[in-house]
Each structure stands twice: as C-alpha cells, then as structure tokens.
C-alpha cells in the first residue's frame, strides 16, 4: 500500500474511530455486514451459491467427479478447495496472489472438513476403487475484506443444494448428498487494541493482525488461523474465542 499523506491520514482516522468503539460504516465492533445470498446460480455445477457480504462478493461452485481414494482412506471420498482471487475483484490483485489464495483455501478447507458437514464416507462409491471427488471452487468477484468468512458461507450454501450427479456418469438417478450441521467461520481484525468482526478491506489494511476461527454447531472450534503482520495476547485470543462462539450462533440463526 502506498504511504502518501492521504492514505496515512485515512488510516489514522479509521484507527481513531475504532478506538472510540465506532466504525466507518456505522457498525458496532462485533457486527457482521449485511449478507445477501442466492443458491443454484450455476447450472453446470452440482451445487452453487453466490454470496455478498457487504462489498465482498463471490460465487462458489461445487462439483462431484468420480475419482480414486487415497490408499490410507480407501472408503472415503476426496475433497479439494480452491479459490481464485480474480484481478477483476480488486485493484490490489494485480500481482501474484498465490500465497494469499492458498492460505484462504486451506483454512476454509480445514473448517469444512473437520466440521463433518460432509461425511467423507458418504462419498465412497466402491471401497478402494472409486470414490467421489468433491471440488469446491471459490471465485471472488469483488473484494472488500474478510474473504475467509464469505468463502465458508458460500461453500456451506453451495453444499446445501449438492446432489450426486449419478445420471451424468451412468450410475442411476441423482440423489441428494447427506449433510451434517454447518460450520461458521468468523474473522476478527485487531485495530487500535480492539477486536472487530468481519473487517472491510480498509480495516484489514490498518489492522495489527487477524484471527479466524471456524465454529461448529456444538460450539467446538474446528479451525484457527492467525494472520496478518501482528500478534495477539493470550487474553485477546480467549476473547476472540468467546466472541466467535456467540457470533456463530447469530450467523447460524440467520441462515436457518
């Protein structure tokens, strides 16, 4: 980010405001932005969703393809999560984004995988021979911060409509994929000593670190990632955990 006087002043303003408990978009520190969702948007996908979280917008397409199991898990399907940070989504994506993309995809993947929303055993066709490969591809169209939470939301919503495409592969009729409970991912940025939920790109830009937690319906933590250049005290991490647990319930409630 360039350090011209305007950027420096703007950063200071964002920090000062958060220091007084307020944010540029009038949200409280622990409040998510408005969420707009739509499912089954891509006919070629076996499950899909479009999510707009404030100014962040992405499309997720889930695809099932016959695949080979890993030798150590012969009766389980395989899952792959990928994200494209398209250069059309932000002026700052005009460079190699591989490291950022890989981190987001892996963190989101861990949360989905460990929450048990998809039981990998359900993706088995013939043990040791043939299983379903589940490909979750996230396509970011507009970036205004917090891609972690928006990505998990997009995946969860795309999975809700997921069906085994049996007919496409001559394996009988399509049928729905059994689903467990949904995980929720919550990201806090640390700005001016405060933890703020669902940071915008501007807030991420002035933050002293971020912490992402994926919470399952029982309140268990399923994935954590500390990121951004910064550090957290023990109390801050514990506070983030408490806030994540209560916010996860709010998000889960709105998506029922």
């Amino acid at each position: 980010m360039s350090r011209d006087p305007e950027t420096i002043m703007r950063s200071q303003m964002v920090r000062d405001l958060i220091g007084t408990g307020r944010r540029r978009d009038d949200r409280s520190l622990g409040q998510m932005r408005p969420l707009v969702v739509e499912t089954d948007v891509i006919a070629q996908a076996d499950g899909s969703a479009r999510v707009r979280l404030g100014g962040t917008e992405l499309v997720v397409g889930a695809k099932l393809m016959p695949s080979s199991p890993y030798p150590d898990h012969p009766d389980e399907g395989v899952m792959h999560t990928g994200i494209r940070l398209s250069p059309l989504a932000s002026p700052s994506f005009d460079r190699d984004m591989d490291a950022e993309a890989t981190e987001i995809a892996r963190v989101v993947d861990r949360g989905i995988r460990h929450s048990g929303m998809i039981d990998m055993k359900h993706l088995c066709i013939s043990p040791g021979e043939r299983v379903w490969g589940l490909y979750l591809d996230i396509h970011v169209l507009d970036h205004d911060g917090n891609l972690f939470d928006a990505s998990t939301l997009g995946i969860v919503l795309s999975l809700r409509g997921l069906a085994f495409p049996n007919s496409r592969f001559g394996m009988g009729e399509d049928r729905p994929v059994p689903l467990g409970e949904m995980p929720v991912t919550l990201t806090f940025a640390k700005v001016a000593g405060e933890l703020i939920l669902d940071p915008t790109a501007e807030e991420e830009g002035v933050s002293d670190g971020r912490i992402t937690m994926t919470i399952d319906p029982r309140g268990w933590v399923r994935a954590v990632q500390l990121g951004g250049c910064g550090h957290f005290t023990l109390e801050e991490v514990k506070r983030a955990h408490q806030l994540a647990r209560s916010s996860a319930e709010v998000v889960r409630g709105s998506l029922r």
Binding site: M13, L17, R22, R24, D25, D26, R27, S28, Q31, M32, R33, P34, L35, V36, V37, E38, V41, I42, A43, Q44, A45, S48, R50, G54, G55, E57, V59, G61, A62, K63, M65, G82, R84, S86, P87, L88, A89, S90, P91, D94, R95, Y135, D137, H139, L141, D142, H143, D144, R168, V250, V251, S254, L255
Partner: protein
C-alpha cells in the same frame, strides 16, 4: 445433438438467423473501474476493467499508447467436467485476440505508458464465450469512462448440416462442421475479431461473414441499451447500486437487527 438431415430446424428451436437471448448489465461491481455482466444463452460472464494505470509488475510499456491487457479465465465449475484452474493454451489465445480487438476500440494513444486491464471471468460456458466476453468487455471499458472510438460487438456464425446458422449453441458447436466468431466496430464497420475452424464452401464464406456482421449490429443495439440503462438510472437513484440481476431473485439476510444498509463514512467525514 445436431440432427442429421437438413431442414430439421435447430436443436433449441431457433431459426437459422436467431441469436440466443442476451442480457447485458453495465456497472455491476464495486471495485472495478468499469464492469459488465452478460448472460448470453446459458453463458454467464463477468468483466471488470482497471485502468489506465501503472502496472504493479514490471511490464514493458509503450511510450506511444496504452497496452490493453485482456485476461480470459474460465471458472473450474463453468463447464460439465471440472476445468483445472489456471491458464491453458486456449485461454491464452483467446486473451490475445480479445486484447487486440479491444485495442482497436479504445483511444489508446491518449494514455501512453499505462495499461488497461480487462479481466474476463467465465462463470458458466455454453459456446460462444469469446464473442459474449468481447461484447461485455467493450461495455465495461465504456463504463470505466475511457475514451473510445466505439464499442466492439461480436457474434459467432456456425455451419450445421451444411447450413449457415447464427450463434451456434454448445451442441451445434460440438457436432457442427464449422465455427466462425466475428467481431466488429459498428461505428466504422471494421472487423476486429475473426477466427474460423471447420469447413466453409467458397460461396458460404462470404454469406457467413455477412450474416455475422449483421448479427453484430443487432448486438450493438443491446450494448447501447445496457449503457443507457446504467447511466439513465444513475441520475435518478445514485445511492442504489445497480441491481445485479440475471442471477434471479435473491434472499436478503440481515445478520443483526441493527444492521441497516451501511452508510459509508458519513459521520467520520463530518
């Protein structure tokens, strides 16, 4: 599947000179300087433009004009069998011909030593993506406020069972005998995109070209309408973001009782 045996009509019931339904919206993204979303038949394509700007990478710039740098990318879920993410020979070639076609549309000599990035994301593909992308890309360039010689309009012509048909669908493309994407600058009539593969007879080539150019002029009307809608409404309701239609109705979920639509920084600026 294309029917063998001539006057059977087309797989989707269109007449030979009929284009699939096209919906085009300008100005649908927040960050991009200009953007357009097009649904052309079952194709769904988003285009975002940045520039003219200095590239963040080292790039050989032109001292006499801007570089138009188009990147065509297909989402892994855009086709029936998942596409491996990343660049391939097909997308590199399409990116190149689209860049060149669009260079003709922009007054590139007005912006020396800059790049204009045109990012094309194919979210769903059903034959004719390069024509749909080119059509939407020139609208996105106009939406970015760039000075232009005119829009670029494009449409493909196909050969099915020896008949020349407009805008072949996926089945017609896969089982047909030829495909010829045509792109023109309607303001001057110049042809800026022309590719072909398959088989076109000596008499058919000219006929197909005429039909393609005529189709481009029909597409041009839609492009002008999209820009008119975008900038006609802008004055009436400036706060409202143009509705991203074409995906169907959306459910709005408010996360919290307090979460009114955000008012951007009013308080902070005062």
């Amino acid at each position: 599947m294309a029917t063998r045996g001539a006057e059977q009509g087309r797989t989707d019931g269109r007449s030979d000179d009929e284009i699939r339904p096209v919906r085009l919206h300008a100005g649908v993204l927040n960050n991009a300087h200009g953007s357009a979303y097009i649904e052309w038949g079952k194709n769904k394509i988003m285009v975002g433009v940045y520039g003219p700007r200095r590239p963040s990478r080292q790039e050989p710039l032109r001292s006499d004009r801007a570089l138009v740098r188009c990147t065509y990318n297909m989402a892994p879920f855009s086709v029936s069998d998942r596409k491996r993410p990343g660049r391939d020979r097909r997308s590199l070639e399409i990116s190149k011909v689209l860049s060149e076609a669009l260079t003709n549309a922009v007054l590139v000599e007005r912006f020396p030593r800059t790049v204009i990035d045109v990012n094309v994301e194919v979210l769903e593909a059903d034959a004719g993506t390069r024509c749909a992308a080119l059509t939407a890309a020139s609208v996105a360039l106009a939406d970015a406020g760039l000075q232009m010689r005119g829009l670029v309009s494009a449409c493909a012509v196909g050969v099915v069972d020896g008949r020349i048909v407009l805008d072949p669908s996926r089945d017609e493309d896969n089982f047909g005998d030829g495909d010829m994407p045509v792109g023109i600058l309607p303001s001057s009539g110049e042809i800026v995109l022309l590719q072909m593969d398959g088989a076109l007879g000596p008499d058919q080539f000219g006929e197909a070209l005429d039909l393609g150019v005529e189709a481009c002029r029909r597409i041009h009307v839609l492009q002008r309408d999209a820009l008119f809608v975008r900038y006609g409404q802008e004055r009436a309701s400036r706060i409202e973001k143009p509705h991203f239609s074409g995906y169907g109705d959306m459910d709005t979920i408010i996360m919290d009782d307090e979460a009114d639509p955000p008012v951007w920084g009013e308080e902070a600026i005062r």
